[in-house]
């Protein structure tokens, strides 16, 4: 049986954005974990005692391991593949990118807090 999920994993390399997102989500009373690139995110997800996040908020352009590579690795890993992903991207064509990455949604930077919460909420129930 799958353990129940909890909270959001935010994968974003920009420290300022990462801090701001963690802050606003915590203000909403959500459990949040942060990773500064895809590699760190994978390590956190695979850690033995890791609580499974309900949704992953994923930046695409990141050093060390970018969002595309992370997503590909995630989809190849049967224990992680089902966790929904919402893209957070600065590029135009966010929806097209979401489709290519098989993501459940996409938010374009700069993102509005209301929209961010509205997009994440369905996954958190």
């Amino acid at each position: 049986m799958m353990a129940p999920c909890g909270g959001v994993l935010v994968v974003e390399d920009d420290v300022d954005i990462l801090r701001a997102i963690v802050q606003v989500l915590e203000d909403e009373g959500l459990p949040v974990r942060a990773a500064e690139n895809g590699q760190v995110a994978l390590a956190k997800l695979r850690a033995a005692d890791a609580a499974r996040p309900c949704v992953i908020l994923l930046d695409l352009m990141m050093p060390v391991m970018d969002g595309w590579t992370f997503r590909a690795s995630q989809l190849r890993d049967p224990s992680l593949a089902h966790i929904p992903v919402v893209l957070l991207t600065a590029d135009g064509g966010a929806m097209e990118q979401a489709e290519i990455a098989r993501a459940s949604g996409a938010l374009r930077k700069p993102v509005d807090l209301g929209l961010l919460l509205e997009t994440l909420r369905p996954f958190l129930r």
Binding site: D14, V15, D16, I17, R19, A20, I21, Q23, V24, D27, M61, M62, P63, V64, D66, A90, D91, K109, P110, V111, D112, L113, G114, L116
Partner: protein, 406 residues
Amino acid sequence: VSRRPLSLPLALPLALRAGTAPPSDETDAEALARRLRETEARFRTMADCAPVLLWMAETDALCTFFNQTWLDFTGRTLEQEWGVGWAEGVHFEDFQGCVDTYMAAFAERRTFEMEYRLRRADGQYRWVLDRGTPRYAPDGRFAGYIGSCVDITDRKDLELDLVRAVRVRDEFLSIASHELRTPLTALRLQLDSVARSIERRPQEHLASGRLAASTGEALAQVQRLTKLIESLLDISRFAEGRVTLVREEVELVALVRGVVDAMQEPARLAGCSLTLTAPPTLRGRWDRVRVEQVISNLVGNAVKFGTRKPITIEIAASDGGARVSVRDRGMGIDARDQQRIFGRFERSVSARHFGGLGLGLWVAKQIADAHAGTISVDSEPGAGATFTLALPGDAPDATRAEGNGP
């Protein structure tokens, strides 16, 4: 205008070129044949002197004539070029398109224009623009084609440079937009969060000091945006040579120490240590703000690409001036990238993985040039990079910063 017979100096060369003077006892048939030969000879002279490559094809599309300019260009004989022999000189990548266009136009008796690479006598492929037109006999019968080629390689090269310049610019614009969006994202979230929080718990919020913290962070993002916009403005200022230095007495060691101190926290977060080696003081007449900008860029790059290894900054007096070296032990820079990175919008690594406008080193070079100084890099991939800024103590300003970008 009255018709006058040709004066002797003009008539004579024409007669000479056309052959010997007509014998008085020739028959009509002989006269016709002679006139044909004369016309033919005149055509060949004209064709061979033309600065363009000329060819002619018969009704079966086989080529039977190439002018001397063509033969000189390809370095082949008429026998080699005859028929479809000329097509051997067409670049294999262009061959199919060339033959298809030619045959399709031929079948429909259309004029055609095509570009392809043709091998020159020296073995080099040159781009030519080939224009072909159907020709007709006096009675209206289709008689084949006549065509001309001009060498358009230089134009092609320019076009490629332009295409590259446009591509580099577009890429830059997309990076710039990404870079501007990043602090805006953080700023927007922080302000949204403040607004939401005030709405919910106005008293608690004001009392908790959270307001001060959030506005402080928001202001930091505004500063980050302002810096980005400043560097965008720097592009046009430097490109147009509109930067004038404000020289003053500068104590370089204190200036560099200030930059290093400000970078300690970002360096710590990136897992790099910063060490400064310097004489007690070192003075010169430089533009304080601009020199600080260069040092800050070099140290910033070292932190960004230093892969969690120590960074050393060294100041030394040299020839009445100063040298500042920033050495990291990170990924290093490929030899082929070492000059390019000083170009505008250039970067040695993908913007997908490392942010930044790709302007820092270009601006640094403009500033070094304006001071009549230099900036250089010494690097081995995998072993790190050392960037050195050399500033003469007091030199006349360079009149115009030289750009080496597109």
